[in-house]
Symmetry: C2
Subunit: 340 residues, 2 copies
DNA sequence: TTGTACGCGTTATCAG
DNA sequence: CTGATAACGCGTACAA
């Protein structure tokens, strides 16, 4: 018995609530309360507890706490990619807002496929997060079932649908495509080159654009499809491919500002003046778009706001507040600058 | 008693190991083994378990598992910022490697101050992560004590020191500064403008550069200091400020490629040809650097590799492997391209 | 190969 | 306001 104690001590077992209780001469339950709901404990008792916490170097064990209380104070966030300028601000905003609300963020890369997302989310749920943020609205049936079954708040982001799993913060990619199409029509830009990434949301924007353009007859479009993530290099290469077609272009429409920046660079390299000889349109209003030379005409979406609202929705709902508008369309704006 | 059971059922309580055991007609312990160490269970028993798992929709509870086993399968990662191109690739690499090794990533924004990092890490430890990744090597004494006390593997990244807390993957900022200084000397670029962010690692690079330059006499340097994160816009503005000094510059040295890109843009806007009239140097070799026009002369560091090695070190150590080289200097290379 | 007993560290609940 | 007791769901250690 005695040797056991000694070995335990030498193993430097992390102090527990029990240890703090012993040192402070209180029960572990009182210590727990002093830490979590100090207003329900006499101030001087709280002080005694705090003193003992310092003395022991106690650090709460949220695994145990979460198990007992069924609240993990964890929010799981699934994104297709982390090193993608499009999502980085959103993730940062989620993280900031969550930590202000006392939550931690479990960040998972779900990729762009149904399969991986489904597996990832199943794995995620084993952490018993209090809430989940999912990128996009297209999920496998199993995913939906699993998530509904888990019975925790979910926010889908970066897209729009009248029928979200639970809550949603995003915008309509179709409408953005439509707006771009309208813009092209208005400007009389009919010989179109597209530099487009493969993901589903980009595809929706493309569809919206085509739908609009086809109202005025069949548009002439040449397209280069590229894998994610979009880079300046891919933008240049793709523009190069388009130019090598030896066809005249009025405009290059790109699925991200990064690609647009590359396309502009390549155009100028080929002696084309932007926008006089060739217009270029991007998407995202990334931080360089406004200051690029020429400044990039693009579609602005408030990536930061998406994250902030998503986190706020979750935290509010978990705080028991009533969510009157679980669907938040944060909209977008076509920002006409120099490049088109 | 009976009503309790019913209420529990209607409350749709998540199925537990016990439930799976009941359905499969086995003990919960066997189910646990079938799930975690299937090789120690008869194949047909495993099959029965899997069947029951499907039937019940069981999802393991890692809070309970972690509490019992003292292994959370969680790695906490603290970075100053998420939406910072410098760290994004590293984070992505950590995430990828960790998930391949069966770990999840708790991502925390620690900011650039000691205080916040210390608090963050204390909060982190309450999740009982199996390991921690910290950005940088300068930590508060309390942080070190807390971390050492937690007795878990730690990897510090993005910097170099002979005395890490535990393990380390990074490179020497001083040496990079030295290399840049040497480059300037070799090229005869003596009228220097600096566009520099405020963070500590950038300061180290600056110091290294100055030390080298001073070996050849007192260099003439004008500097614009900017807050993080670095943006193209800040690069342009800073260059503008420098130009407004009405002094002649041979070179603009920037603490990141993003700033360099902006500086180049602003220089060209002022009718200066890069590098003929003015050289520009960046840092990071971000994905646009090589394809910028002119291509940016910069210092390449393998941000991806940092993340991959950091995660591997942790996972290896946690797997009980012996780590012979806990300090990994991944080095850097000065990439001379068009801008300088 | 499978099962039993117990403990992990905390919180909910109810009693004082 | 404080304390005793019983979960929470799982894995360790040992027994069968």
């Amino acid at each position: 018995m005695k040797s056991e104690k000694i070995s335990r001590n030498t193993a430097a077992r992390a102090p527990t609530l029990e240890d703090v209780a012993r040192v402070s001469g209180l029960s572990s339950m009182t210590v727990s309360r002093a830490l979590n709901t100090p207003q329900r404990v006499r101030p001087d008792t709280v002080a005694r507890v705090m003193e003992a916490v310092r003395a022991t170097g106690y650090i709460p064990n949220m695994l145990a706490g979460g198990l007992a209380s069924k609240r993990s104070k964890l929010i799981a966030v699934a994104v297709p990619q982390i090193n993608n300028s499009m999502f980085a601000d959103t993730i940062q905003a989620i993280s900031d807002e969550l930590s202000a609300r006392g939550y931690h963020m479990l960040l998972c890369v779900a990729g762009y496929t149904h399969e991986s997302e489904t597996e990832i989310v199943a794995a995620i749920l084993s952490r018993r997060p209090d809430g989940v943020v999912l990128t996009g609205i297209h999920h496998s049936p199993e995913l939906k079932k699993t998530l509904l079954n888990a019975n925790i708040p979910v926010v889908e982001i970066w897209d729009l649908t009248p029928t979200p799993l639970d809550m949603l913060v995003g915008f309509s990619h179709e409408k953005i495509g439509d707006a771009i199409g309208q813009f092209l029509l208005t400007k009389g830009l009919s010989r179109i080159g597209m530099i487009w990434t493969e993901d589903r949301r980009a595809a929706q924007r493309k569809q919206g654009m085509l739908d609009r353009l086809r109202q005025q007859g069949q548009p002439r479009i040449d397209e280069v499809v590229i894998p994610l993530p979009a880079t300046l290099s891919l933008g240049r290469q793709s523009a190069q491919k388009l130019f090598s077609l030896k066809r005249e272009f009025d405009v290059l429409v790109c699925s991200s500002d990064t690609l647009a920046q590359g396309a502009i660079m390549e155009a100028e390299y080929h002696g084309l003046r932007v926008p006089d000889d060739l217009a270029v349109i991007g998407f995202g209003d990334l931080d360089f778009a406004a200051d690029n030379k020429p400044a990039i005409t693009t579609v602005r979406v408030d990536r930061w706001q998406i994250g902030k609202e998503a986190a706020t929705l979750l935290a509010d709902k978990l705080a028991g507040e009533n969510i009157d508008t679980p669907i938040r369309d944060i909209g977008f704006s076509l920002v006409e600058r120099e490049s088109a």
